[in-house]
Subunit: 404 residues, 2 copies
């Protein structure tokens, strides 16, 4: 991609209300643009990061046997009334009447809709267990959207749902998804803690949150310094030392980057979802749901990976692998750009007629993992520098391609 | 994909209100599911077709220099008021108040939103021309949603927007997109007519529709039997012979599978979008927009490619390339399935414990281009049949893979 053509440009000043590094740099770097409070456009750079994260999530969900599909954002009132959530989610769910007076809502989540689809289609143990997921924008009327895309009113989410005929079967799959989630975060460069959560009306062992310790977070969790134990503060407020190893516990503000819930037979009872088991008995279809906030992950990664100059994207999610910068050497740089592309190295090529200082500042702000400079000084070679390093090395194009 | 695991199954009966082949077969075949009038879930099979079409569209838009991004569905009233469309689109646009009383609308289209983004970011000829696009669900309160996903209230669309400083530049790009659109339809197996359209408030030469002649369509167009000339009936009602070649004209109901508009300086004037030209003069930023209904394309393809038994997908958009059917030979078929996958041949493998009749009927309904049967009769070979052919041939696995 030619940087002279890239929509949009970087901005000199951060947004006025930016209190976190991710909010500041994602807006300044041209990754996202605010349309209204909590509602953002993913600009070409940000959309590339979203897609990279989505593809990691997709691979891990497919490996779990998840089938991808897409449910609508617009949803009828009557299905949500079956579980009482049309009323209980009133504050968070956008609900409106269409021009004919019919009431509809915008998807804040999809449990009711997927369960309706399942009860109409699944009638036998032969079709169970199975898992289905989607990646799409969801809508929540957050009273205080903040942190840029950290907590939005329209935000991108992956939601997986699994269906089972026995609690044992559900438990096994639930634990496998827990491990798949850790792989997702690992691949995005994030070390998260799995915190036991209250899960609203359910017992604590049936819900877990994936928490990233960060000052930019809004969640309070309690966790052990030595072992893996962690709990949401809501249920852990009276704990004074780690119940697993006896070690010292800490409290921290934290970012919730995912959550998983076991609903057991709640939906079967509320929405009448039963299937025939292999012994001929009618049994409830159990459900669990598993969410990852894709757009929040973008912000979380920027929160963990940045310095005072800008973002430092991990390779796995970076919008481009290489930032090629020409300092008055566009003819030479163009040839190198074409060769990098031919070698499947995704490259943002700064072909603009700007100063070296401006180009380097933009490169630091945008945060592509490797910077390659072509100038009179480099004499036909490539001056290579990692975004998170200080050393530069001079390499031939062939050496550079081999080094990757 | 194992067919025993596929969510959902085919249905014995078509939906009651299905008046068109595409509506009937897409629902019966398990491609889409109706949640409410005009609002559909894309089930795993349908989602695969959507993605195949989206990727064709994406390639052609990228080739046109289009940059992909994603704008929000939720939109503020004030920006739409600048052009007067908050009022004029009142009937078609979902408009509501959020819990704080603030008015918002759901995206029926994105001209106002993209133009707002452009006027805030583009200030110089150096940044023009450029083009940007997205693929996402749009919302229109159609009074009579019909034909399944042919005309929905929530539907998937690709919308490209281009920006220019001169009419000549806009004309050149507009004509290039016209050609790119023809390539998109060609690759989807569709021969469309380009009809001049009135374009609402604009002159006819500045808007074109891409029309697919079909009884399932709702548009009336007038077209020449001999040459390429076509016009929307709205503006062609008094024409009696072809104005280009003098040939006989026909009238026909037709499916509008795309449309392109030149807005000229309308948005520059309404929304104050100007940039500095190379001569230092302030000039209006001209806009054109270009839409393709992705979900309508799914229905259109099914409308053109079907017989009395089901759909016959063109290879380019088919949910899978091969439908592998085991008749009591699952061990043998499983080995072949694994080898097909290793050779990157996407395969739906019917491993179910069902009758041959049921499996063949499902294969015809789903419409995967090639059917491969493994049975006692095939003696280690593959019985291969095209969905749109009658002949079967016996091939070894190696011969089959080579034949593709």
């Amino acid at each position: 991609m030619l940087q002279s053509r890239l929509f949009t440009k970087t901005q000199k000043l951060p947004p006025k209300d930016a209190a976190s590094a991710s909010h500041k740099f994602l807006v300044q770097g041209g990754f996202v643009d605010m349309l209204m409070a909590g509602v953002y456009t993913y600009l070409p750079l940000g959309w590339r990061v979203i897609n990279n994260i989505s593809n990691i999530v997709r691979e891990e969900m497919n490996n779990m046997g998840g089938q991808e599909m897409l449910m609508p954002a617009m949803q009828p009132k009557n299905i949500w009334e079956e579980t009482g959530r049309w009323a209980s989610l009133e504050e968070i769910m956008y609900q409106f009447k269409d021009q004919s007076g019919k009431e509809a809502g915008l998807a804040a989540t999809h449990e009711e809709i997927i369960y309706d689809l399942v009860r109409r289609n699944i009638h036998s143990y032969k079709d169970l267990p199975f898992a289905i997921y989607q990646i799409q924008n969801k809508f929540r009327n957050e009273p205080r959207p903040r942190g840029g895309i950290m907590r939005g009113r329209e935000f991108m989410m992956k939601d997986l749902y699994s269906f089972h005929l026995s609690q044992e079967d559900l438990d096994v799959y639930y634990n496998q998804v827990k491990e798949a989630y850790i792989r997702v975060y690992d691949r995005c460069g994030l070390k998260v803690k799995i915190a036991e959560a209250s899960g609203g009306m359910f017992t604590q062992k049936h819900s877990h949150e994936f928490q990233l310790i960060s000052e930019a977070g809004e969640d309070d969790i309690v966790y052990c310094e030595k072992c893996d134990w962690a709990q949401n503060e809501e249920i852990a407020s009276k704990i004074e030392k780690c119940p697993v190893c006896g070690g010292k516990i800490r409290k921290g503000k934290s970012i919730e980057v995912g959550n998983i819930f076991q609903f057991g037979d709640k939906y079967a009872k509320d929405m009448n979802g039963y299937a025939m088991a292999s012994d001929g008995q009618k049994k409830p279809i159990l459900m669990a749901s598993y969410g990852i906030g894709i757009s929040r992950l973008v912000a979380s990664i920027a929160e963990i990976y940045h310095d005072e100059k800008g973002i430092i994207w991990p390779e796995s999610v970076a919008p481009f692998q290489v930032h090629l910068i020409s300092l008055g050497r566009n003819e030479e740089a163009e040839t190198i750009y074409q060769k990098l592309i031919k070698n499947n190295i995704s490259t943002l090529y700064d072909d603009r007629d700007s100063s070296a200082g401006e180009k380097f500042a933009d490169a630091d702000l945008i945060g592509i993992p490797e910077r390659v400079v072509i100038s009179a000084k480099t004499k036909g070679k490539l001056e290579v520098k990692k975004r998170n390093g200080k050393e530069t090395t001079l390499l031939t194009l062939e050496e550079f391609i081999k080094s990757r």
